[in-house]
C-alpha cells in the first residue's frame, strides 16, 4: 500500500518532467550523416595541419622540395600513410560512435591502421639497429615533437569535442578514445612532414608515446566530466 502511494507520487514527478520537456521542445535541426560531418572536420583539420607544415617548411628554408623528397623513402612513406590512415579511420569511428544507435563495432575500425602504424615504426627501429648497430639506438629527446603534437591536438580536439558534444548519451569513452587517437595521429602525420627525427626509436617514443599520452589524458578528463555530470 505504502509502495503504491510512493510509486504514484514519484510517477507524478515524471509526468511533470514530461510536461516541462514538452513545453521547452523547440524545433531542432537534425544532424547530418556522420560521414559527412567527419569529412567536414577532417577537411578543416587537414587544412590547419597542412598550413602549419607549410609555414614550418618555408621558415626552416628546407622548401617544399625537401618536404616531398622524403617520400622517396619507402619506409617513411608507409609510416606516414599509416599515421594518416589511423587519423582518418579513428575520426570516422568517433563520429559514428557519438550517435546512440550506431554499432559499437565502429571502435574496431582504426585498429588495423594503428597496428600497421606501430609496426612500421617498429620495423624502422629494427632497420636502424641493423644499419647502425647500438649507436643508432640513442633515445634523444625532442620536446619540440611533443609540443607540436599536443599543441595541434588540443585545439583540434576541442573543435572535435564540440562537434561530438552529444556523445555522452551512449558511448562517451569509446568516442573520446577514438577522437583523441585520430587527432593525435593526424598531428603526428603533419609533424613528420617537416620535422626530421633521424632515429625510428625517437619516432616511436615521441610520436607513438605522445599519441598514447593524448589518448590517455583525454580518457581521464572525459571520465571525470561524465562522473561529475551524473554524480
Amino acid at each position: 500500500m505504502r509502495d503504491e502511494v510512493e510509486r504514484t507520487k514519484v510517477a507524478a514527478d515524471t509526468n511533470r518532467l514530461i510536461d516541462t520537456l514538452v513545453s521547452e521542445a523547440r524545433p531542432v535541426r537534425r544532424l547530418r550523416p556522420p560521414l559527412v560531418r567527419a569529412a567536414f572536420w577532417l577537411a578543416v583539420s587537414v587544412a590547419v595541419i597542412a598550413a602549419i607544415a607549410y609555414l614550418h617548411a618555408v621558415r626552416e628554408e628546407h622548401g617544399l622540395r625537401h618536404l616531398f623528397g622524403q617520400f622517396a623513402d619507402i619506409g617513411f612513406t608507409l609510416q606516414w600513410l599509416a599515421s594518416l590512415l589511423t587519423g582518418v579511420t579513428a575520426i570516422v569511428a568517433a563520429f559514428e560512435l557519438a550517435l546512440p544507435d550506431r554499432s559499437r563495432a565502429w571502435r574496431l575500425l582504426p585498429l588495423p591502421a594503428v597496428v600497421f602504424w606501430f609496426l612500421s615504426i617498429g620495423y624502422g627501429c629494427l632497420t636502424d639497429w641493423v644499419e647502425r648497430g647500438p649507436d643508432g639506438f640513442v633515445a634523444g629527446h625532442s620536446f619540440e615533437c611533443f609540443g607540436v603534437i599536443v599543441g595541434t591536438s588540443v585545439p583540434l580536439g576541442l573543435f572535435l569535442a564540440w562537434m561530438l558534444r552529444f556523445a555522452g548519451a551512449a558511448w562517451p569513452m569509446e568516442t573520446i578514445t577514438a577522437g583523441a587517437l585520430g587527432t593525435a595521429a593526424l598531428s603526428a602525420a603533419g609533424l613528420s612532414l617537416y620535422h626530421d627525427l633521424d632515429a625510428s626509436l625517437m619516432i616511436l617514443i615521441w610520436h607513438g608515446g605522445t599519441t598514447a599520452l593524448v589518448v590517455g589524458v583525454s580518457r581521464m578528463v572525459g571520465r571525470r566530466m561524465m562522473r561529475r555530470r551524473h554524480a
Binding site: E6, V10, L21, V28, R30, D101, F166, A169
Partner: protein, 195 residues
C-alpha cells in the same frame, strides 16, 4: 497467423514512434508529449530490472527522458527509434549503477530500523537524574506526609505494611500521601526544576 499479426502490430508501433519523434524534432509538441508518454512505461519496466527502490527507478527514468530531450537532434528518422532509445537508456542505467556503487563504498546507509526511536533525543543516553531537589522537597513536608512518602515510595512498602509500620490507618496514609504528592509537585515544578 497471430504471430504475423503481432509482428505487423509491432512494426506499426515502431513506425509510429519514429514518426512521432520526427514530428517532435520539427517542433510538434503534441507528438513529443505522446512519444514521451508512450515510452515512459517501457523505460520504467526496463529500469525495474536493475533497481528495486521505486525512487531509483523513477530517477533513472527521468534521467533517460532528460537525455533524450538533450540529444534529440541525433535521431535519424530513417532509422528505427527503439535502438536509439535503448542505447541511451542503457547508458543512463549503467551510469547510475556505477554512481550507486561508488557511493556505497564511501557511505553506510543506516535504515531507520536501527534506531530505537526516530526522535533523536530518545537515543541519547540519559544522565543520572539529580535527586537532591526531590529530597529537599520531601524533607520540607509536614512529618505525616513525609513519613507516608518515605514508606510508600522510598521503601516501596504496600499500604498495609506501611500502616503496620507507622501505626497510621490505611485511609489516613492515602490522604497524607496524596497531599504529599500534590505539594511535591507544586514545590518541584514551581522551583523550575523538571526532575
Amino acid at each position: 497467423m497471430t504471430d504475423e499479426a503481432d509482428q505487423r502490430r509491432a512494426a506499426d508501433q515502431a513506425r509510429e514512434l519514429a514518426n512521432l519523434m520526427a514530428a517532435a524534432q520539427d517542433g510538434d509538441r503534441r507528438a513529443y508529449a505522446a512519444l514521451l508518454q508512450a515510452v515512459t512505461p517501457y523505460l520504467r519496466a526496463q529500469a525495474r530490472r536493475y533497481f528495486r527502490n521505486t525512487q531509483d527507478v523513477e530517477d533513472v527514468v527521468q534521467e533517460i527522458l532528460l537525455t533524450v530531450h538533450r540529444v534529440r537532434q541525433t535521431y535519424d528518422p530513417e532509422r528505427p527509434f527503439m535502438p536509439w532509445l535503448t542505447a541511451i537508456a542503457r547508458r543512463r542505467v549503467v551510469d547510475r549503477l556505477r554512481g550507486k556503487g561508488r557511493r556505497e563504498t564511501r557511505e553506510i546507509v543506516i535504515p531507520p530500523d536501527h534506531e530505537t526511536f526516530t526522535e533523536v533525543a530518545a537515543n541519547i543516553e540519559p544522565e543520572a537524574p539529580d535527586h537532591s531537589a526531590l529530597h529537599a522537597a520531601v524533607a520540607a513536608l509536614p512529618p505525616g506526609q513525609r513519613l507516608a512518602v518515605e514508606l510508600l515510595k522510598f521503601q516501596d512498602l504496600s499500604l498495609k505494611e506501611a500502616s503496620e509500620r507507622s501505626g497510621m490507618s490505611v485511609g489516613s496514609l492515602k490522604v497524607a500521601a496524596h497531599r504529599a504528592y500534590k505539594s511535591l509537585r507544586a514545590a518541584l515544578s514551581g522551583g523550575g526544576n523538571d526532575a
